[in-house]
């Protein structure tokens, strides 16, 4: 039997302490903003002197928060379209890369993953200059294009992981049984890589929803985005509705995460 020595115990305590610090740093701010969003004070203040739902009422008030609602609508629309575009393109790319052993596929994968390490600000500026050079006025379509670029690596990774586990004999089986490429994709490939596709779509959606650097450059007054609007409100008025909006976003992400976990878990069971 292995006996725990003093050194072992010290190491365990150290790891526990580090985990505690990490947990505090990761979760602490979220708790602070959630608690603050219920404050009865008129300022962003922690700890709050009392609690009220007033800021949530204000946030959902169609008249007083009309601008926020427009920005939120834009953000949600762009996030959904980004998830669709980024996941579709990444799925196509991931399947081709998984199937190919050629050098170009490694190069292509590197290129698709590049936005992950590219500084967001630099990419935002570059995208703005590029689209102005093409004489494209700011629009939601441009925002989707920009966000999809940033979101694609996430989807490529998750779909790629699923596609790598796909037995090539299944695809050959399907072809030998007379199925064309489209039927094979719809009936065999897609159901089997669904966990990766769902996870990729979720990550793309979330990364678009809270994207600041690209939206900063590509949005305009007509295409206002929620994170940009919230930042503007913070700068001018320290509006507590920002905390309430953050609370809503955290809740939304949490619900989506649970939904995705259920869907992916379900897909796993289906493929089992």
């Amino acid at each position: 039997m292995h006996r725990f020595t003093g050194a072992d115990r010290a190491l365990a305590l150290l790891i526990l302490a580090l985990a505690g610090v990490g947990f505090l740093i990761l979760v602490g701010p979220v708790v602070v903003v959630l608690v603050t969003s219920f404050t009865s004070s008129r300022a962003l203040q922690f700890p709050p002197p009392g609690f009220t739902l007033q800021w949530y009422r204000d946030l959902f008030d169609a008249e007083r928060s009309a601008q926020i609602h427009v920005a939120a609508g834009n953000s949600l629309l762009v996030a959904v379209l980004t998830a669709v575009v980024a996941t579709s393109l990444s799925t196509a790319a991931a399947l081709a890369i998984a199937r190919s052993r050629a050098t170009w596929s490694k190069v292509a994968e590197g290129a698709f993953m590049a936005p992950l390490v590219l500084p967001g600000i630099a990419f935002g500026l570059a995208a703005l200059m590029f689209f102005s050079w093409l004489r494209q006025p700011p629009s939601l379509a441009l925002l989707v294009a920009g966000h999809a670029m940033i979101a694609a690596p996430f989807a490529l990774r998750t779909v790629g992981a699923s596609a790598a586990g796909l037995d090539p004999a299944l695809l050959e089986s399907s072809a030998a049984l007379g199925a064309g490429p489209w039927r094979t994709f719809r009936r065999v490939t897609l159901p089997l890589i669904m966990p990766g596709v769902a996870a990729g779509a979720f990550l793309a959606f979330v990364s678009s929803l809270d994207n600041v650097p690209v939206s900063l450059f590509l949005s305009s007054a007509q295409t206002d985005m929620l994170p940009i609007r919230l930042w503007g409100m913070m700068e001018t008025a320290l509006d507590v509705r920002v905390a309430a909006a953050s609370g809503v976003l955290v809740a939304l992400a949490f619900v989506l995460l649970l939904a995705m976990d259920r869907a992916v878990g379900l897909a796993r069971r289906m493929s089992g």
Partner: protein
């Protein structure tokens, strides 16, 4: 044919009409980069026949099968079904059914959905699909497992479903790629017998890829022994065993004792050979050898025997092991190691010096020395 499966009892195999299709592989060459995996192979499979492609791994047997299936394009040569070239057709339109080594059942579909897959791809009416799926599952005795997912089936059951799926589309040619490799030994024989029975009953032309000579022997009507991309011999299993065409076949199929020697003289239908071990034997052979040529006599364990006669060569019996009704003698003769197969009666002989001779009437194979590997 799947619509009306006949009970086996009322329809013996020999009454089954040959409904199969003819497969011709004509001068097929396949190259992977610099490596030639299949070298100008020509092979015909008669309607309803099962031919086994037997060989060590890397001999090109699987590549040849995949070329017939349409997954690999041949650099040269043609593949014909009933005389029509199918080289330019995609796998799904070649009329081939394949059972993969891993079975490749779709894990997210039930057994019935797996079997229905190929029928649905052919856009058959739903009622027809349902009927054919039922018939195919019944043919492999899996009708009680239609709604099970592959993961909920044993290896043998998965293999039956894979076979049903391949047969449901009523293929001209059935391709079996090491179909028993993943099964344990006890189950293997049962399934081999069953698949053989089903193949006969459906009269489907079949190609079986295997590295297991027992499997090739028991299942195939003829076997094609492959080595380094070439077919070395195509013949019924008994003929391959009794009259191996090359030294490779003699060594790969069954056990062989290699006895080097020198041609002394022609002798009737064969030659008199002076063995290095110190005896003169007569071996029939249709091949031409010059007097004095170096040769290797390839004798099966049951073609040699311990003998009292003076014409035998001296050796040393190391041990004798009982193997069922037989006795295996483990013998040392200079640098040679020999295995003898004898009937077991009485007490086994004691280890020590013995004399070994060719059993009267035995016909070992004879090859030039350089050919033996």
């Amino acid at each position: 044919m799947l619509d009306h499966p006949q009970p086996e009892e009322t329809k013996p195999d020999r009454d089954a009409r040959p409904r199969g299709h003819r497969l011709d592989i004509d001068g097929v060459r396949v190259r992977y980069g610099q490596t030639v995996a299949v070298r100008d192979v020509t092979l015909s499979v008669e309607p309803g026949e099962m031919v086994a492609l037997l060989g060590p791994s890397g001999c090109g047997k699987t590549t040849l099968l995949r070329t017939v299936a349409g997954f690999i394009r041949a650099e040269a040569g043609r593949v014909l079904v009933d005389g029509a070239a199918i080289d330019r057709l995609p796998p799904g339109r070649r009329g081939v059914g394949i059972v993969f080594q891993s079975y490749a059942l779709f894990p997210h579909m039930s057994a019935a959905e797996n079997v229905a897959y190929g029928l649905e791809a052919r856009r058959l009416p739903k009622a027809v699909v349902v009927r054919k799926v039922e018939a195919a599952l019944a043919a492999v005795r899996m009708e009680g497992f239609a709604e099970r997912r592959p993961r909920a089936l044993s290896g043998g059951q998965q293999q039956r479903v894979a076979l049903a799926r391949a047969l449901a589309i009523e293929p001209s040619i059935l391709l079996l790629d090491e179909p028993f490799a993943a099964l344990d030994r006890a189950l293997r024989l049962d399934l081999q017998l069953e698949i053989k029975r089903i193949q006969r009953r459906f009269g489907v032309t079949a190609v079986l890829v295997t590295h297991d000579q027992d499997e090739a022997m028991s299942m195939s009507d003829r076997m094609a022994v492959m080595n380094a991309g070439r077919v070395e011999q195509v013949a019924p299993p008994a003929e391959v065993y009794d009259r191996p065409a090359t030294a490779f076949v003699a060594g790969f199929v069954g056990t062989t004792n290699r006895l080097p020697g020198r041609i002394e003289a022609r002798d009737g239908a064969g030659y008199r050979i002076r063995l290095d071990a110190g005896a003169t034997v007569a071996v029939e052979s249709a091949r031409g050898f010059d007097t004095g040529a170096r040769v290797v006599v390839c004798a099966r364990p049951e073609q040699l025997a311990l003998t009292e006669a003076a014409e035998g060569f001296p050796a040393r019996l190391r041990q004798s092991l009982p193997l069922g009704p037989a006795l295996i003698h483990d013998i040392e003769c200079g640098a040679l190691e020999l295995k003898l197969h004898a009937a077991r009666h009485g007490a086994p002989p004691a280890p020590g010096p013995v004399r070994i001779g060719l059993l009267p009437g035995a016909t070992p194979a004879l090859f030039p020395e350089g050919e033996t590997t």
